[in-house]
């Protein structure tokens, strides 16, 4: 069954009101005191049992961060963040480390169930045949359960919490960590480098095609705890991997800071596909609460003919500040960015990509669909840079905005820089609304206004949704409709 045929479920979800995933679990937490000092960093590093080089690395990042200022160029506004009023470490109270799912706190598992996260055998999502999904579940800052490790190990794939990778595969981590996003790359990546607590590590050995989709579900749970995930994915020569990241967060009043860093490295002929469905708490209709999401995601196509593909569906968060990018260093390498960003109520999204063409015959594709509703602001910001060595480089960018209602804003800010005469860059952008003709046509066939909008919006996003793995596409379609609640009529 094609994913698009599932829009009907979208329609049913619309009937539900409020934020579907707004509940909180009560688990004893091991929380560091508020504030950020070298001591906080020492505590984090000690709890993780890290080697000295990593502690030094964190200190270097912290020193850089202290000299930096929050970036202000994005079209987002928020009350100042007090970085000393945040807990930088929270862990579920340590038992002796669960050896299997049976040992995991049942309340934690219950939470996952409510979220519909397919842990255990349910990881094989209902109705999707042959789709194996390995889940490295992150509950607040510590990974508590990882499934399918054995299957992956058989093919030589390493998929584990990054803190474990630091212990078990120190050479790999040390070789690649911070090579794509240097510690002082930007304010938020520097902060992350200083205090990151966990995240995923993936290594696919040469020539291996990862036997299943890898998936991490993030969940922000502890009150006032910033999340500083660090993800590092390496696809060695000829390797292939598809990675899924999905997020839901419980409803709460305080703004929560999230500043993740994701680094991808693709060697010769390697392929990495990274898909995200982001559905963090967006705040209420008046803009109270909601997650601040300042993320640095970047992939390096280091090898010849390598390919990195980002697909994102961003419906959550009060503020989204996110530019998954590709550095196309290897000759013939390919970068892709497919994005749906939807904002409603008072949400603000400033998101896009950078495609940095360095090698010869590099190609990039950007497809961005922005949907603004309510009183929200939605900005596409992107850079396409063709360096002098990038002969034969190609870029095509398509950037479409859809406005629903006359209180929102849609903005397009592309930067195009070319320094090679044989390169070819094309950029197209449009802004439109759902036409009355389309609405009437759907309603004359029996669809309610909300159903009609959901259908048309999903159609508008189809080019992006079809890039998602199927189980994600279904979830994304529902999310789009749920996020549009209250925006029509």
């Amino acid at each position: 069954m094609p994913a698009v045929a599932e829009t009907l479920e979208t329609v049913e979800s619309l009937a539900r009101s409020g934020y579907k995933f707004g509940f909180e679990t009560t688990i004893d937490m091991d929380v560091a005191p508020k504030g950020l000092t070298e001591d906080t960093i020492r505590l984090i590093s000690a709890r993780k049992g890290e080697p000295a080089w990593l502690l030094d690395w964190r200190f270097a990042a912290f020193a850089a961060w202290r000299k930096m200022e929050e970036p202000r160029w994005a079209r987002v506004h928020h009350t100042p963040i007090d970085y000393q009023d945040i807990h930088y470490y929270a862990a579920p109270k340590a038992k002796a480390g669960p050896a299997s799912l049976d040992e995991v706190d049942p309340e934690l598992l219950a939470t996952y169930e409510k979220l519909g996260i397919p842990l255990k055998e349910r990881a094989i999502l209902a109705g999707v045949q042959g789709a194996n999904v390995a889940v490295d579940a992150v509950f607040d800052s510590v990974s508590v359960a990882t499934t399918f490790r054995a299957t992956l190990a058989k093919s030589g794939v390493i998929f584990c919490p990054i803190s474990e990778a630091v212990r078990e595969h120190p050479d790999l981590v040390r070789q690649y960590l911070g090579t794509v996003v240097p510690v002082a790359d930007n304010f938020f990546s520097a902060l992350n480098s200083a205090v990151f607590t966990d995240g995923s590590f993936v290594y696919i050995p040469p020539g291996v095609r990862c036997p299943m989709e890898l998936s991490t579900y993030f969940r922000i749970n502890a009150r006032n705890t910033g999340q500083f995930e660090r993800t590092l994915i390496i696809a060695d020569a000829g390797a292939q991997v598809s990675y899924l990241e999905g997020c839901t967060a419980p409803q709460r009043d305080e703004n929560q800071l999230h500043a993740a860093v994701v680094e991808l490295i693709a060697l010769d002929d390697a392929k990495i596909k990274y898909s995200t469905v982001q559905n963090w708490y967006p705040g209420d209709a008046e803009g109270r609460g909601g997650i601040y999401n300042f993320v640095t995601k970047r992939g390096l196509c280091r090898g010849a003919r390598s390919r990195i593909s980002w697909t994102q569906v961003e419906t959550g968060s009060a503020i989204t500040w996110k530019y998954p990018s590709c550095v196309l260093e290897g000759d013939g390498s390919v970068g892709e960015f497919y994005s749906v960003a939807m904002t409603n109520h008072m949400q603000q999204a400033d998101t896009g990509t950078k495609m940095i063409h360095i090698g010869r015959d590099t190609r990039s594709t950007i497809v961005s669909k922005g949907i603004s509703a309510g009183k929200s602001d939605n900005t596409y910001r992107g850079l396409v840079r063709i360096g002098p060595r990038a002969s034969g480089a190609r870029n095509h960018t398509q950037c479409d905005s859809l406005l629903i209602g006359d209180r929102c804003g849609a903005h397009t800010v592309p930067y195009i820089e070319s320094r090679n005469p044989s390169a070819k860059v094309e950029h197209e952008a449009t802004t439109s609304k759902i036409s009355e003709d389309q609405m009437f046509y759907c309603r004359a066939r029996g669809l309610s206004q909300e159903d009609a909008v959901g259908l048309i919006v999903n159609g508008f996003c189809k080019e992006v949704l079809k890039e998602l793995p199927m189980e994600f596409a279904v979830e994304a379609q529902k999310l789009l409709a749920v996020s549009l609640e209250g925006s029509v009529g």
């Binding site: 930067y415 195009i416 005469p421 860059v425 094309e426 950029h427 197209e428 802004t431 609304k433």
Partner: protein
Amino acid sequence: MTVPMSRGEAGFLGRFEAERASLPGAPGPRAAAAEAFRALGLPGASSGRRAEAWKYTSLRALAEAGFAGSLSVAETDMAMVPRLAATRLVFVDGRFRADLSDPAPGIFGSARAPEFGPLAQPARDPLVALNTMLAEDGAAIEVADGDDAGVVQIAHLASAAAGQAIACHPRHLIRLGAGARLVLLETMSGTGRYLHNPVSEILLGPDAALSHLRLQEEADDAFHLATLYAELAARARYEAFTLNLGARLARTEIHARLAGPDGFVALNAAQLLGGAQHADMTTVVRHDAPRGASRQTVRSVLSGRARGVFQGRIEVARGAQKTDGYQRSQALLLSDAAEIDTKPELEIFADDVKCSHGATVGALDPEQLFYLRSRGVPEAPARAMLVRAFLDESLDAVTHKAARAALDAAIARAWEREAA
């Protein structure tokens, strides 16, 4: 932390301090502008404020240069100024020259009495602050309600005396009453090293129509930094076409605001650059009223180490429903060291609008080149033919015959110079 001011900045402020008592007009706006200039600095200078609007163009070279005040020389090579209309205002080194001009009723150059209009933003734009601070002469054009003023030429000629780099800051004010019409041809040329920093304010009444053609052929060593503001009442039309050929560093910044409903703005441009030239077209079209339309096509041809910049923003305010905005930028890179930087921007706050932009960057189509060569046209003329065809498409917006001929001739001159 205060960074010391650059030589150029200090020079401009020094000149203002020395001459402020003798500068014409009310002193208030000038003093405020000087304060703004001091605060903003020149973009790219070490003391200058970093500004997104100046991302791709630095005025460091200007900041490091020194300029004398404008000079008026008796000997003027009028052969450099094509005569394009019977009514003509001539400015030499920024000074209005009544002896060389043919004014008409309502159309005259003011000598040492620039008129500051309501549109310019010296507090925001450093070059406008500089102009307001030091402006001396300028054109004053007023077309009464319902009048058709025909064709008027404004000619700027810089004749910088040997060894003496001059700076001039003319200030023009153009007003068209309700239903008035005007075709304005501006030619800008010169010799030597100089800064030409004009500011124009254009006010169009209801149903007024201004066709504005700008031929920029400044000297190789010149800085050309022009800022234009246009404001349109209901149903007014402003159609501007800029041809950028000269100057080592050129920037044309146009702010057009559709203040009344059903207005129309076209901001088209073509630029042909070589050597180490740098030319920047920066435009902001603001739709503040319903049913306005704006059109923009900018074509750039870059060879040598030339760098072209196009920044174009369409802003649609809340309530400006049924706006129709369109913008296209196309660039041809003819050499390995040439560079184009493009930033087309949409900022939309109304839902019932149709706005789009497109940008393409590439080289001459090898298939077209091959086709021409296979028909016997040698490579050099074949390339010239294709470049011409590329530019001609944008020139088609220019319907005034004499102006079109002047633009064509100027392109031919520039291309020959490039080929040489």
